[in-house]
């Protein structure tokens, strides 16, 4: 069971780890701000408030999508690493290799988009990357895909190191996941939730990376040998198998921060239970096979896969979410929770996760999907889930770490004002997307009909408010992370 001490000794970062953690998180915060500004540019273009050309809009859209998925993954990986290292022996070289390969991959993607003019969205759906009608070269498309490959290799190295460490401590991944207690036996109350969640992510994401490694290389072969024509539907299945798991895993890595930190602010233990283990075991399977819900509009998809996509859509998110929501609410109930920045962000994250699931499940229903999937309903769902779910989980840890450097939780008026801006802006921004989707406003269009402009304008204003909140968070956290801990040895200042 995780400690109830607010700032336990085993969580302190030695110098090397401290530098690595700061690198990850400061990079992620800066990227989040830049990607949000790109998102704002898109909304303002749709609102007819900026003179951005269509070609540039799609480049920005590609960069925003790839950048946000990558950055969410980078930041939530750091969350997983931060807590998992307390229970198993992780190697810093693997964590840093992931960072270096991520940065190299990001450079490839930035170059492909802004120098090579690549603009076929973060999903690079075949055959669009190789049919640019002169807008970008094959080389740019290839560079974009090589960027993804580099990021995937980095993630794989980190997961393999984490898998080795879990196996070394617990025997195998099944025992890390707690499968031995599903049908009976006395559950070890000290079995860490961080290990259960990390094991699930390692299993699911490694399979996703394998699918990505196959499809990316096949697309690269096709780019240089067009005679090797690929089945577009198979390519799409593999892309979504890998893409869905990469982005879905971010919440399963991020939620570790809620599991580990919330009990410290409520002062109540939050142990592992059989329903908890069952929910994670079920979600491990479901998250691997849920991806066909992205293909409900593809009439050529095998019928059984569509049916599976719908059924698993209903089932995939629920087990872990219900068990987590119930666990967190009972943990908060009658606890005298200290409402500081980390605890408020943890509760916000749970709300964002809960509310973000609802539009996803609605869209995962075949009858609705046929009408809604190409509308702004879908960005409404995933922005809700990411902006108000995953990102607050990352911010929970970051505010906690900043507080740990001063030995007191952060709770200043500036930070609370930032949170207010973030919540108001974030909810408004997502609700505008959802409402526009409800009104059949198409997604991924650079130019909107005059009837759609009010939604775009409202969305732009909400995005500005949200970004103001994020700027407050980013500034305060970066300054906090760069400050030496108050009990640091002056002879060895932390990086």
């Amino acid at each position: 069971m995780s400690s109830l001490e607010l700032y336990p000794q085993d969580e302190k970062l030695p110098r090397g780890e401290h530098v690595a953690f700061n690198l990850y998180m400061i990079t992620a915060l800066l990227l989040f701000v830049v990607m949000m500004l790109l998102g704002l540019t898109m909304r303002m273009t749709q609102a007819d408030w900026t003179p951005v050309q269509a070609a540039m809009f799609y480049k920005v859209m590609t960069m925003h999508g790839a950048g946000m998925v990558g950055t969410m993954s980078l930041a939530s990986t750091a969350v997983m690493w931060f807590f998992l290292r307390k229970y198993v022996s992780l190697h810093l070289w693997a964590f840093m290799s992931n960072y270096v390969l991520f940065m190299l991959g990001a450079l490839c993607i930035i170059w492909a988009v802004f120098v090579g003019d690549f603009a076929s969205a973060w999903t690079f759906l075949y055959p669009l990357p190789v049919h640019s009608m002169g807008l970008w070269s094959n080389g740019a498309a290839a560079l974009f895909m090589v960027g993804y490959l580099l990021i995937g290799v980095g993630m794989l190295l980190f997961y393999l190191d984490a898998a080795a460490a879990i196996i070394h401590r617990f025997g195998n991944l099944g025992r890390g996941l707690g499968l031995q207690w599903l049908f009976g036996g006395e559950i070890d109350p000290n079995h860490p939730k961080a290990v259960v969640a990390s094991t699930m992510v390692i299993i699911a994401n490694s399979l996703g990376i394998l699918a990505g490694a196959v499809v990316l290389v096949m697309c690269l072969i096709n780019a240089y040998d067009p005679e090797v024509a690929l089945n577009a539907l198979v390519v799409k299945n593999l892309i979504y198998w890998f893409g869905h798991m990469i982005i879905n895993a971010t919440i399963y890595m991020g939620v570790i921060a809620v599991y580990e930190l919330l009990p410290r602010y409520t002062g109540k233990p939050y142990g592992v239970s059989r329903p908890f283990l069952w929910s994670w075991a079920a979600s491990t399977l479901f998250v691997i096979i849920v991806f066909p819900h992205h293909l409900l509009m593809d009439y050529a998809e095998p019928r059984w896969m569509l049916v599976m996509g719908q059924i698993i859509s209903y089932a995939a998110g629920f087990p872990v979410f219900l068990v987590t929501a119930y666990g967190v609410l009972t943990n908060i109930h009658h606890s005298g929770l200290r409402w500081t920045m980390p605890s408020m962000l943890a509760v916000l994250a749970l709300f964002g996760w809960a509310a973000g699931i609802v539009p996803a499940i609605i869209d995962g229903t075949i009858g609705v999907n046929r009408v809604m999937h190409n509308t702004q309903w879908v960005p409404g769902h995933f922005h809700f889930y990411l902006l108000l779910g995953v990102l607050p989980m990352v911010l929970t840890l970051l505010y906690h770490v900043v507080g740990s450097r001063r030995r007191a939780p952060v709770n200043s008026g500036t930070d609370r004002a930032g949170l207010l801006l973030y919540v108001v802006g974030g909810i408004s921004f997502c609700m505008v997307f959802l409402y526009a989707g409800h009104m059949s406003v198409a997604r991924r269009f650079s130019t909107h009909l005059p009837e759609w402009l009010p939604y775009d304008q409202a969305g732009s204003i909400a995005a500005m408010v949200l970004i103001l909140g994020m700027l407050v968070f980013a500034t305060r956290i970066i300054v906090g992370l760069l400050k030496a801990p108050i009990d640091a040895d002056p002879a060895h200042p932390a990086g």
Partner: protein, 192 residues
């Protein structure tokens, strides 16, 4: 049979297997189809090299190990040689050109099997993981490629044979993936 006994018998088994693979009827049969050459003959030649690693004198083995930390040199050498023998052109030439046949029977055991046999015990979990995942991905990629390629990749084999080889590679990739997943989830590990 104990591990020591298996190690003692391994070189003899390697020689016997190598001689069996050289027998003209066996060779002719294994080279009659692309799938047999790629997925039976070459893996058996790799096995010959792997088994031979047990025959190396301990001092030579220790000397090589100094240049083979974590088995990475082995992996690089085996991968480069493996890439060459994955080329359809190489497979083709190994049937039509005697000197290429000699190269195949010498290089596959000595440059793929032997290095892997020597390096595998030194490889940690991460290196083995990267190797197995890349091997699985390669089976899927090549299987897919052989299935969709509109042209014959080898002069010696027909398109349907090529497609059968592709299907077999997809099956092998799936079995490999399932095996690794079962081992990771429920298997026993001596050390990681």
């Amino acid at each position: 049979m104990s591990t020591a006994e298996r190690q003692r018998l391994a070189p003899a088994f390697a020689v016997a297997l190598f001689v069996a693979l050289l027998l003209p009827p066996v060779r002719a049969w294994l080279e009659s189809r692309m799938s047999l050459q790629m997925l039976v003959q070459i893996p058996l030649l790799i096995t010959v090299g792997w088994l031979l690693s047990a025959a190396l004198p301990p001092r030579l083995g220790e000397g090589i190990a100094r240049w083979n930390r974590h088995g990475i040199s082995s992996l690089v050498l085996a991968s480069l040689a493996g890439m060459f023998w994955m080329l359809p052109r190489s497979l083709d030439a190994a049937i039509g050109e005697p000197w290429m046949a000699v190269a195949k029977f010498a290089s596959v055991p000595l440059l793929i099997g032997l290095p892997l046999g020597l390096g595998w015990p030194h490889m940690g979990f991460v290196v083995r993981g990267v190797f197995l995942l890349e091997l699985t991905a390669t089976f899927f990629r090549l299987g897919w490629l052989y299935l969709v390629s509109p042209i014959r990749l080898c002069n010696n084999y027909l398109l349907d044979d090529q497609q059968r080889a592709g299907e077999a590679m997809l099956v092998i990739g799936s079995l490999l993936l399932a095996g690794v997943a079962i081992k990771l989830l429920w298997g026993r590990f001596d050390s990681t």
